[in-house]
């Protein structure tokens, strides 16, 4: 059973993976596992917010503010699914509990 991301969790980029921007998005590639994923422009913005300081809740609220015409709940779910996928593919890492990321 997959662990669901909590709003208080902080995520950071896995620096062993490469991030390569193209026209309207970017590739994430893990040279070790071979995992490769293309993320679109919005995905790039979300990925870049994962700096180890912002929580999942902070990120979803920030994204919701930019998409006022879509329901907050829908955005929150979509962002969490996206982040969860990047965690699963190990492009993002969960910060250890107790580490405030600063």
């Amino acid at each position: 059973m997959e662990e669901y991301l909590q709003n208080i969790e902080r995520l950071s980029q896995n620096t062993d993976c490469v991030f390569r921007e193209e026209e309207d998005g970017a590739f994430l590639f893990d040279p070790e596992s071979g995992n490769l994923k293309f993320i679109n422009g919005m995905g790039v913005n979300i990925y870049q917010l994962c700096d180890g300081n912002m929580t999942v809740g902070d990120i979803t609220s920030l994204v919701s503010e930019n998409y006022k015409d879509i329901s907050g709940k829908k955005i929150e779910d979509d962002v969490k699914i996206f982040l969860q996928e990047l965690v699963k593919m190990e492009f993002l890492k969960k910060e250890e509990a107790g580490n405030d990321g600063k």
Binding site: R20, E21, G25, G34, F38
Partner: protein, 360 residues
Amino acid sequence: MTGNNAEYQLNSIYLYLTDRCNLRCRHCWIEPLYYEGREDNSSEFDLRSLKKAIEDAKEIGLNRVKLTGGEPFLRRDILDIVAYLHAQNITVDIETNGTLIDKEIVEALKVNCVNQVSVSLDSMTEEQHEIFRGVKGCYHDAVKGLSLLAGSGINTQLIMTLYKENVSEIERLVELSSRMGVGSVKINPVMPTGRGKRFFEKEENVEFGDLIKIDRWIEEELMSKYKIDIHFDIPIGLKSLKCIRTRQLFECNLFNIIGILSDGTISLCGIGQTETALNMGNIAVDDIREVWANNPILRKVRTDIPRNLEGICSRCIFKFRCRGACRACAYGLTGSLNSPFFVCHEAYEKGLFLESRMIN
């Protein structure tokens, strides 16, 4: 690591029915013997060994066989082989030069539910096709074969080998295919292996920068104009982003394919015809399951690809998906299965390989 590991399941066999051909194509990587008639050839594998190999291979995952050659229809018992494979529930694809296809053959292929027949045609200009394929009269025979197949409802594909001089024929062949009801067009730039070497020596191959331009033109204009699927075979690393995200692309299936040459030799795809060091046994005496599980060449390929690919392939973010494009071609050119694929290597040398697709 064993042959039963899901990633290394033997799904597909390239079956070289004969080493004879009734044409003398200037680009052919197999360099078959020229032969007109449909006589029997004692050096070709017998049906009994083939059946044993197919039945054994089915136990480790086989579900698809591509019949190729030489010209596969030169082999007398091709229709028996097709019927046998169909009875074994195996998906059958055939690659042919189309010149020997007649109504009876088409009927038999239909009855046995052949999945796809690919016919080679390089130009709408009779003279150009015949200079390339090396035999007078082959243009009309090939077009007739293609039309019989497409008209019968069999999923037909036109395969064009591309070199400098026939670039202007692309659209005409696509138009013909679309008009005839051919399912798809596959365009393979000529490779510098087998007879294809001479194209490169004489600089008759399409330049690498132009390959990329042709790819984009096909994708942006030709496909929508003719509403037909066109596969332009250049490696993923050189494709457009849209194409990478939405289409099935050129990938080496070496982990799931084995070749059986016309004399029964078990080989890495078809390369064993010219590179005998890559031969792994013979279906007359060896158990294909054992070869698949334990042969040192296959074991090495499974460890080395993609992790030990060299040059630009080692730095490419698509290497796990692409696996260095055609490893057989790389081997034919350099004697190493790990060497970079020449198209991406040349593109990189010329500054045409995008930085965003490389690591380090």
